[in-house]
Amino acid sequence: MATAMAQPVERENYLNKHYGVGSWLLTTDHKRIALLYLMSITFFFFIGGFFALLIRLELLTPTGDLVQADTYNKLFTMHGQVMVFFFLIPSIPAVLGNFLVPMMIGAKDLAFPRINLLSWYIYAIAGLLMLHCMITGGVDTGWTFYTPFSTAFSNTKVIEAGLAIFISGFSSILTGLNFIVTIHRMRAPGMTWSRLPLFIWAHYATSIIQILGTPVIAITLVLVVAERALHLGIFDPKLGGDPLLFQHLFWFYSHPAVYIMILPSMGVISEVISCFSRKRIFGYHFVALSSLAIAIFGFLVWAHHMFVAGISLYAALIFSILSYAVAVPSAVKVFNWTATLYKGSIHYDAPMLYAFGFLGLFTIGGLTGLFLAALGVDMHVHDTYFVIAHFHYIMVGGALMGYLGGMHFWWPKISGKLYPEGWARLAALIVFIGFNLTFFPQFILGYIGMPRRYYQYPPEFQVLNVLSTAGATVLGVGYLMPMIYFLWSMRYGKPAPDNPWNAAGLEWKTQSPPTTFNFEEEPVVTWEAYNYDEIDQAQKEVPQVVG
């Protein structure tokens, strides 16, 4: 309270310029839309997290004793659908991307501000439909909707869930479209392609996937609905269809979708590592182009989800070798981030701790991907807990660590307040430990043979499951903490200076929080990205404002 009263009169900014519900629901300011997204995806994150908690509690014992089998099947289905389509896919692009893309390139807003608002409304409608679906019975097909189970056998709300995801796809497409046009057309004078922050490159690559991939999942879901509702024979062999056709179509989107989640996170990590090492990123062009390489190769590996599904031997060989090809640009990024640390001046603030966490978890996630791309090993570990562990290391260890790191890094800019650094470092540590405790045992569970999506399991798997559940509770605490202290800081946090990290990047050259149109006058860029030598030179010594 005292701090709040001691503040000087607040400058006008995007948060206090207008008040009232209407000023939020009808806003076309990319920063306000980013906050609308932030609230919505946080809501879905906690719903998805709640499902995860129930799943882990059920798996504490080998027998099914907490919920019914059908309920369990709905829980893991909706955990996946909510987390993938309503949290991870929009997470970094729709929140941090929306907030930062225009500012980083020196623009007043995105190219199509009203389409940006529309994309949130579409997301909200899809989200409400998904909520309605979950409250009125839910769906039990697995997030993958495999046919013919989903089209002919499931007695749950497949059509409603499918429609919700179908609708949410349009929001994703519109965001991608907006970013691509903005990055092409709205860069400030002097902001050349090779001066773009790597966050922008990552979002550019992501947007390409969103635009090209999302229509395929939309079409696929329409076909599922058509077969289920109208009995058109597409996937069900009883109607003359082919169930493998569904898997090809589904993974044609859903594999690149992993890169929709991880690429923006990689963009965040580039910004954070560069800032907290006080260095230009090592091999800027290789890091930038590897994002595009991942986006392109990512479209050519989908059938590595189908090595035991009944595809031909030769198809499997080709998809295996291509999967190794897509692993290379990811490895290149990790090497470049590591090399950036060399001869740096490294600070251990919370965003950097999340970046270190990202490097650790993404490396393990990436390397276990090599096991799954190996045909001979995949035969054994496919559809076991090994796969669950692997993709959580990528999608939670990778994507979510990046999201949290980014939220801490840019929170002073977004809210105009400083978060409590000590708590934030502690939370980063708890998340890292909790995550490994939850998911590392699952690699072992998978190799000794525990299948995924099992409600009950043979007793020899129990010890590892108990470990995993214990880790999940730690992880849950780690996720609740930032939620609490971010909210706390909005009221009680110290006011943030315009550039608390002495970071490069145009977003730090405007006030915190920014004004509605970001910059007083259009910036002219005369420097390269990550010019930390010049910044620190000008500063003479580096005052570490926080912590």
Binding site: A69, G283, V308, S320, I321, F335, V377
Partner: protein, 323 residues
Amino acid sequence: MAGNVDALYIFLLIVSGLMTALIFVTIVYFAARYRYRKGVPAEQIEGSTPLELTWTFIPLGVFMVIFAWSAVVYFKSRTPPRDSTEVYVVAKQWMWKLEHAEGQREINELHVPVGRDVKLIMTSQDVIHSFFVPAFRMKQDVLPGRYTVAWFRATKPGTYHLFCTQYCGTQHSGMIGSVIVMEPAQYEAWMSGGTGGPLSVAGEKIFAELGCATCHRTDTQGRGPNLQGVFGKPVLLEDGRTVTADENYVRESILEPGAKVVNGFKPVMPTFQGLVSEEQLNALVAYVKSLSTSGQSGVTANPAAIVPSQAPANPPSKGNQVH
């Protein structure tokens, strides 16, 4: 195969362990060595193309070794040796039905002798399932409307888990069973436990009951091709394509006779879709197969329809081993 898969797995553990160690040690070392010190600025380094090329191509080379090795393991496990003992698997929500070629039927249990190659010819009555025996490091999805094939050779007697690993509805986690590996003598004793006779004999009966023999005659005068010796051989189709007469081709020819008509014949056969159960189909397939193994092979109704070449011989395999 367990040994092969484990060897590759251990190699992968070593490679990825080394890579993880390399990255982690470097990060920790840099993070400690180059931590912020007052008055010591960071040294700006642009990057290095030789380094970039090094860490692009060395991993790529390592990946290609993994790929090649894993492809060999996969290839073996996807190619059942000839003369395997055959077991027909019908999966349904939520049980495994298993039929030995000799006629024994089991549910959720599969008895096999130690040291013999066992080929599984699998199909599903409803949704997709997956046949997974962790101890054999072997897994194959089981699809409705077609056969998928897998094989293993158990090397140690014992009882092993059989899991369904493709989510199939309410009792997915209850769709489990066991593979019981027995010493040959015990197995013989178990086999003699009385059945309705070999599957192919049951198939012959169904063949007669459905009137198949009216057209598929054993001479050259039938309206359909003579089926003696056809199985496992390449077949020339009307449209000039050649297919191998495997389990899936026989199955398709019964359910969808017009799809791949043998050269020289008219598409006059009616479909048996809905008239035969999965078990009856398996018996019919076993019967057609028996026509090629009982010494009557080589005689065909329309010699032109058969491409005169041997089916490719599968090399004897080292076999799936229980670790």
